[in-house]
C-alpha cells in the first residue's frame, strides 16, 4: 500500500478501528452488539483488525427478539464460536415473562421493544458503552447522530443537545447508570458494507443471497411467510426469487425481488438500486416521518 492507493474503504476501516480502540481504552465495561446481520459482521472483522492477536476487550451481546430468521441465529452462534469470543444473548421472551414488555399480539413487530431488553441487559452487566453497527445513511435521524452517542440513565437520546464531537477526540465520560452508544461505521453506506464484505471475503447468512421464498405482497412490501405472517383474506401467497437487504424481525422485514446470488452481484445491484435499505425492507419505519427519532429517544440503538 502507498499514499496513492489509500482508498475510501481503507479510510473508513482505519477510522472504525481507531474508534473501537478508543472505546476499549476509555470505557470501563463495553459490549459489542452482534445480531448476525451484515453490519455487525463487518464490526467483528473491524474488531479483529483492531485487537488481534489479542482477544476482544469486550463481549458480544445480542438482544434476541425471538422473531429472527433461523439462518441468522445459526450464523450468529457459528461466528461467535469461530472467533472464540464470548457471546451474551438476552431474549425478549424473558422480558415478556417478567412483564417488562407487554405485546398487543404475539405476532406484532418486536423491533420497538428491543430497547427495553437492551436497557435491562445494560443494567444487568453495567455496560457503559455499546458498540453498534448503525449507519448514518440508513435513516434521517441517524444522519444526525454522533459517533459517540450519549444516553442518559433512561437510555434516552437528546437530539437537540448532543455533545460536540470534534476531530477524533471522543468524549467517553459517563456517570454511573449512563451509557454511550458507539457507531464505528457511521460513515459507511450500504454499498461500502458490501464492498468491504467482498474485499475481506466475509461469510454472511444465506438469506442475503437470492433464494426462492413464499411471500405475501402487502402494502408496498413483500412479507415473508412464516409462523408469524400468514395470508389474510383475499391475500395470495407467491413464490418468488428474493434476497434480504436487512435481517430483522421476521414479522416486518421484507425481502426484495432479486437474483443476486453472489456478493459481487449484490454490489452491482446495490450500486443501481433506487430505494433505500429501510424503505425497501422495514415496514415499521414507514409509519411516520419521525418513527426512528422517537424510538431512539426511548433508548433504541
Amino acid at each position: 500500500m502507498s499514499h496513492r492507493s489509500f482508498t475510501h474503504l481503507d479510510a473508513l476501516e482505519s477510522e472504525a478501528i481507531h474508534i473501537m480502540r478508543e472505546v476499549a481504552a476509555e470505557c470501563a465495561n463495553p459490549a459489542l452488539l452482534f445480531s448476525g446481520g451484515k453490519d455487525s459482521i463487518v464490526l467483528l472483522r473491524l474488531a479483529e483488525k483492531a485487537f488481534r492477536p489479542g482477544r476482544f476487550p469486550f463481549p458480544l451481546l445480542h438482544i434476541d427478539t425471538e422473531h429472527n430468521f433461523p439462518e441468522v441465529i445459526a450464523f450468529r452462534d457459528h461466528r461467535a464460536k469461530e472467533l472464540g469470543e464470548r457471546l451474551i444473548v438476552r431474549s425478549m421472551d424473558d422480558s415478556i415473562k417478567k412483564g417488562r414488555v407487554v405485546l398487543r399480539s404475539e405476532n406484532q413487530s418486536r423491533n420497538p421493544f428491543q430497547s427495553i431488553t437492551l436497557l435491562d441487559a445494560i443494567a444487568e452487566f453495567s455496560f457503559d458503552a455499546c458498540i453498534g453497527g448503525a449507519r448514518r445513511d440508513e435513516e434521517k435521524a441517524r444522519a444526525k447522530e454522533r459517533i459517540f452517542s450519549f444516553r442518559d440513565e433512561f437510555g434516552q437520546w437528546d437530539p437537540k443537545n448532543q455533545r460536540p464531537e470534534l476531530w477524533s477526540l471522543y468524549n467517553t465520560k459517563t456517570h454511573s447508570g449512563e451509557n454511550i452508544r458507539v457507531f464505528p461505521i457511521s460513515n459507511w453506506t450500504e454499498l461500502d458494507v458490501w464492498e468491504y464484505i467482498a474485499r475481506e471475503n466475509l461469510e454472511v447468512p444465506s438469506i442475503y443471497f437470492a433464494h426462492w421464498r413464499e411471500v405475501i405482497p402487502r402494502d408496498s412490501g413483500l412479507l415473508p411467510v412464516s409462523h408469524l405472517v400468514q395470508p389474510r383474506d383475499n391475500e395470495k401467497i407467491e413464490k418468488i426469487m428474493v434476497r434480504f437487504r436487512t435481517v430483522g424481525d421476521m414479522s416486518c422485514t421484507c425481502p426484495v425481488a432479486s437474483d443476486a446470488a453472489s456478493v459481487g452481484e449484490i454490489i452491482a445491484e446495490t450500486a443501481m438500486t433506487r430505494i433505500t435499505e429501510r424503505g425497501a425492507t422495514r415496514m415499521d419505519d414507514q409509519t411516520s416521518d419521525a418513527s426512528m427519532e422517537l424510538r431512539k429517544k426511548e433508548g433504541y440503538f
Partner: protein, 423 residues
C-alpha cells in the same frame, strides 16, 4: 462528468466537506441538489419529502427536507445540528456535513468543520457577504479547513449577472485576505435550478471556471494530511500473554501524520526513550511501511515501558513537550468558563487536568477585532494560555491538526465545553 455509474468504487478516495453560510443562503438546497443530480437520492426519500412539501403548500419539492432530519428542524424549518450525507462518483466518495447557520449553533458547525477537507461557503447573490458568512469563513480558517469554495448562490434572482458575482468575489477577497486561507475558489450558481452544481446550465456562459462537482472531484487532498512528521499516539497496548505470544507487546494506534518504516529509529515521548520499529502489523498483514491515516499495530526492538497516551515519533523530527502552551479556544458550553477551574484536557490519546491560566483576548468574529475579557461564553473564540498537570506532546495546529487539537471536558457534568487549537 459522469456521476451515475457507481460500480467499481473500491479505488475511490474519500473527501469530507461542509456547507456553511448564513441562514437561508441555500445550504440544504445545494446538498439536496448535489445528491439529486448525482443520482444519490432514493425514490422513497424523494416521495417522502414530496409528500411533506405538498402538505406545506409548496409547488416544488423542497430538497432541504432531505437533510433537516429532526422533528424540531422540520417544524421550525431550520438546521439545528449537523446532518451527514453520502454520495459517490467514480472518482471519489463524499461525506457532506450540512451545518447550521444560526449563531447559537456555532458549536455544531465547528463539529462538522473539524474533520473537513473543504468548506463551501454559500452567499446569497442578492445579499452579498453577510456577518454570518464572515463568521463561518473565519471559523473555517480557524479550524484549518484546507480548501474553501465560495458559492455565490441564487444567481437566478439577480438575472445571472456577472457584475454582481464579481462584486461579491471582490468583497470576499478583501475581507478574507487577513485570514489564513490558501485556497479559495469562487463559483456562481443556482442551487435551486442546478446551474454550475453538477450541470453547467445555459445561463452562466460568461463563467469559464469549473462546476462545483468538477472541483470536488479534482481538488488535491493528498497534501491535506501532514506527510512529513511521523506521529503515532498509542491507543492501546496489546499483550495477549498466551503461550505462543508470551512476550508479544503490540502498540496499537493510528498514524496521525507522516510515515514510518520497519527499522526506523523512534523516540517515545514524553519519556524520551529510544528504540527501533521491529514490525508493522494489522490482523493477518505485515507491512514494511505505514503512513497517515492508517490504523496499525507496531512492535519495537526493546522492552520499554510504553502505555496509552505515549507517542512514538521518528527520531529526527521532535514535537514540543510542555506543560504550558498558547491556544485558540472555542467555548462550546452554555456554562461560561470559570477561570482558575480545572478541566479535563483530552489531547491525542492523553487525558490530563488543566486550566486556562490567562485569556489574552477574545476575537469579535464579525469584525475580527481583538478585545479584552476575563470570561468566555458559549460561541466565544479567544486566545488563551493553558497550563496542564502533566506534559503534553504536541505540534502547532497549523502544522498538524491531530497533534495540535484538544478538547476540554467539565469534570462535573462530563460535557465537552471547549475545543482548542495550539498556536
Amino acid at each position: 462528468m459522469s456521476v451515475v455509474e457507481n460500480v467499481g468504487l473500491d479505488r475511490a478516495e474519500l473527501l469530507r466537506f461542509i456547507a456553511a453560510g448564513s441562514v437561508d443562503d441555500g445550504k440544504s438546497t445545494l446538498i439536496g441538489r448535489l445528491l439529486h443530480d448525482s443520482k444519490s437520492i432514493f425514490e422513497d426519500q424523494l416521495s417522502s419529502i414530496a409528500k411533506t412539501s405538498s402538505k406545506r403548500g409548496m409547488q416544488n419539492v423542497d430538497l432541504s427536507l432531505l437533510t433537516d432530519g429532526l422533528q424540531a428542524e422540520r417544524e421550525q424549518g431550520i438546521t439545528i445540528d449537523v446532518a451527514y450525507r453520502y454520495f459517490a462518483t467514480p472518482k471519489r466518495k463524499f461525506i457532506i456535513a450540512d451545518t447550521p447557520g444560526h449563531e447559537q449553533y456555532t458549536r455544531n458547525m465547528v463539529t462538522g468543520a473539524s474533520t473537513a477537507n473543504l468548506a463551501i461557503i454559500l452567499i446569497d447573490a442578492r445579499k452579498g457577504v453577510l456577518t454570518q458568512s464572515r463568521r463561518h469563513t473565519y471559523l473555517a480558517s480557524l479550524v484549518g479547513i484546507p480548501h474553501i469554495v465560495v458559492a455565490v448562490n441564487k444567481m437566478d434572482l439577480v438575472e445571472y449577472s456577472q457584475e454582481v458575482f464579481t462584486r461579491i468575489c471582490d468583497d470576499f477577497a478583501v475581507f478574507s485576505q487577513h485570514l489564513n486561507l490558501r485556497n479559495i475558489e469562487y463559483i456562481p450558481m443556482s442551487a435551486l435550478n442546478g446551474d454550475m452544481v453538477v450541470e453547467r446550465g445555459d445561463q452562466l456562459n460568461w463563467y469559464q471556471g469549473r462546476t462545483l462537482i468538477d472541483l470536488l472531484e479534482n481538488v488535491d487532498i493528498e497534501h491535506d494530511v501532514n506527510l512529513d512528521d511521523f506521529r503515532f499516539p498509542v491507543q492501546w497496548v496489546c499483550r495477549p500473554q498466551t503461550e505462543e505470544l508470551h512476550d508479544f507487546r503490540g502498540y496499537m494506534g493510528r498514524v496521525e501524520s507522516g510515515s514510518i518504516k520497519v527499522g526506523d529509529a523512534v523516540t517515545i515521548q514524553p519519556s524520551g526513550l529510544h528504540s527501533r520499529i521491529k514490525e508493522i502489523l494489522l490482523y493477518q498483514s505485515n507491512f514494511d511501511e505505514a503512513f497517515a491515516p492508517q490504523s496499525v499495530t507496531v512492535t519495537i526492538e526493546d522492552h520499554l515501558d510504553i502505555s496509552r497516551g505515549d507517542m512514538l515519533i521518528k527520531s529526527d523530527d521532535q514535537p514540543r513537550v510542555d506543560k504550558e502552551f498558547t491556544a485558540m479556544l472555542c467555548w462550546l458550553s452554555e456554562q461560561p468558563l470559570s477561570s482558575g477551574r480545572k478541566y479535563i484536557v483530552k489531547h491525542t490519546t492523553r487525558m490530563v487536568k488543566g486550566l486556562v491560566s490567562q485569556i489574552d483576548y477574545r476575537v469579535d468574529v464579525n469584525t475580527l477585532n481583538q478585545e479584552k475579557t476575563d470570561s468566555l461564553r458559549m460561541n466565544d473564540i479567544a486566545r488563551v494560555v493553558m497550563k496542564v498537570q502533566q506534559p503534553l506532546v504536541f505540534d502547532a495546529y497549523s502544522r498538524n491538526r491531530a497533534t495540535g487539537s484538544f478538547i476540554l471536558i467539565d469534570e462535573t457534568t462530563n460535557n465537552t465545553v471547549a475545543a482548542g487549537m495550539i498556536c
